[in-house]
């Protein structure tokens, strides 16, 4: 009995040692145009000198899941290596006519819409593989959006730690308190990915949350 429990303990220890050696898969989720790629770019540029993807005012600019391996984030003497995963914005509707407002040609708009729908499916499929997820919300928008609630509900069901980021905090219309009220069970960090505002608090929260990874 004692030998058996010792063997189990040893096995657990070995698996933990190897688990810690793997890079933490850090996913960026949220609605379109919330600033997921802007935030991922800011982090990647600060620690690797390279960006992860392109940014645009047109919704669904990110239509494929994008990765950046071996991003070593250093904060207050601590260091952790992440695999950054930037995902297409999740929504329940995609209308090619929306893109026409941004002077995108009809043919291109239709192809963009098709790619966007495939990107959303891909985003959802990736939920299972994440170690830690940052939900990026636009703090100028209403946070009571069913898609946000659905994504968080799925992460909770999968026991994946969640951090909520209220992006665009530099804008006058930003209402970070509203996001805090909408998700009282989660830590909400107000940031500006565009100007790199309050990223220290963000890194601190990520490091703290990474201890909860199972």
């Amino acid at each position: 009995m004692a030998i058996k429990s010792f063997a189990e303990l040893f096995k657990k220890f070995i698996s933990n040692v190897f688990k810690n050696k793997k890079d933490i898969k850090l996913g960026f989720y949220g609605p379109p145009n919330a600033g997921k790629t802007s935030l991922a770019n800011r982090i990647c540029k600060d620690f690797t000198g390279e960006e992860i993807g392109s940014v645009s005012k047109i919704p669904h600019e990110t239509r494929n899941v994008q990765f950046k391996e071996k991003v070593e984030i250093s904060y207050k003497g601590k260091s952790m290596t992440f695999k950054m995963i930037d995902t297409p914005g999740i929504t329940t509707k995609v209308d090619y006519e929306e893109f026409l407002k941004y002077k995108v040609k009809k043919k291109e708009a239709k192809s963009r819409a098709k790619e966007a729908t495939q990107g959303i499916i891909e985003s959802i499929k990736w939920l299972d593989d994440m170690d830690l997820v940052v939900i990026v919300l636009d703090s100028t928008e209403n946070p009571y959006n069913q898609v946000n609630i659905t994504i968080i509900g799925n992460l909770v069901a999968r026991k994946i730690p969640v951090l909520i980021v209220a992006n665009k905090a530099d804008l006058r219309k930003a209402k970070i308190k509203k996001i805090e009220e909408a998700f009282p069970e989660y830590e909400v960090i107000g940031i500006s990915a565009k100007y790199g505002k309050n990223l220290d608090n963000f890194y601190e929260a990520v490091f703290k949350l990474s201890k909860k990874i199972k």
Partner: protein, 139 residues
């Protein structure tokens, strides 16, 4: 008299061709996830707004989004859906929440919740806060 009626009609904005369907939870209680989502999407394809008693599981909600995306471009003039859930436990105290969770476990579903699903061609936006849901329809 008749002239007056015509005048009134011309001032009213018309919304063509949609219905509102209410579905009790018993309708989907014994159905599997695939069947539930198929039933919901079939209603959305017929330009109807569905008011469903209860709510789907989180994994069913993501599956609904996935299947919706897969159908855009394959079903004529289908652009997706608008989705909202309102649940009474959002504004409850921790004790009330605990009681509600037990009741939900016993009944096997969150029967106090209401799910609204409408095709995006009809429902432009659903404004949601913890106390109410507001449907903004396409003109």
């Amino acid at each position: 008299m008749a002239k007056k009626i015509v005048k009134k009609k011309s001032k009213t904005k018309k919304i063509n061709g949609f219905a509102i369907q209410f579905m009790p939870y018993s309708e989907i209680k014994n159905a599997g996830s695939t069947e539930r989502i198929r039933k919901i999407l079939d209603i959305a394809f017929t330009n109807s707004i569905l008011i469903l008693q209860g709510r789907l599981k989180p994994e069913e909600e993501t599956r609904l989004i996935e299947d919706t995306m897969a159908m855009i471009g394959h079903v004529k003039s289908f652009k997706g859906i608008e989705l909202a859930v309102i649940s009474p436990h959002e504004n409850q105290s921790p004790i009330e929440k605990f009681k509600y969770k037990i009741a939900t476990k016993l009944s096997g579903a969150d029967l106090g919740a209401i799910t609204i699903i409408g095709p995006a061609t009809i429902v432009r936006e659903i404004k949601q806060d913890p106390r109410k849901i507001e449907l903004l329809l396409t003109k």
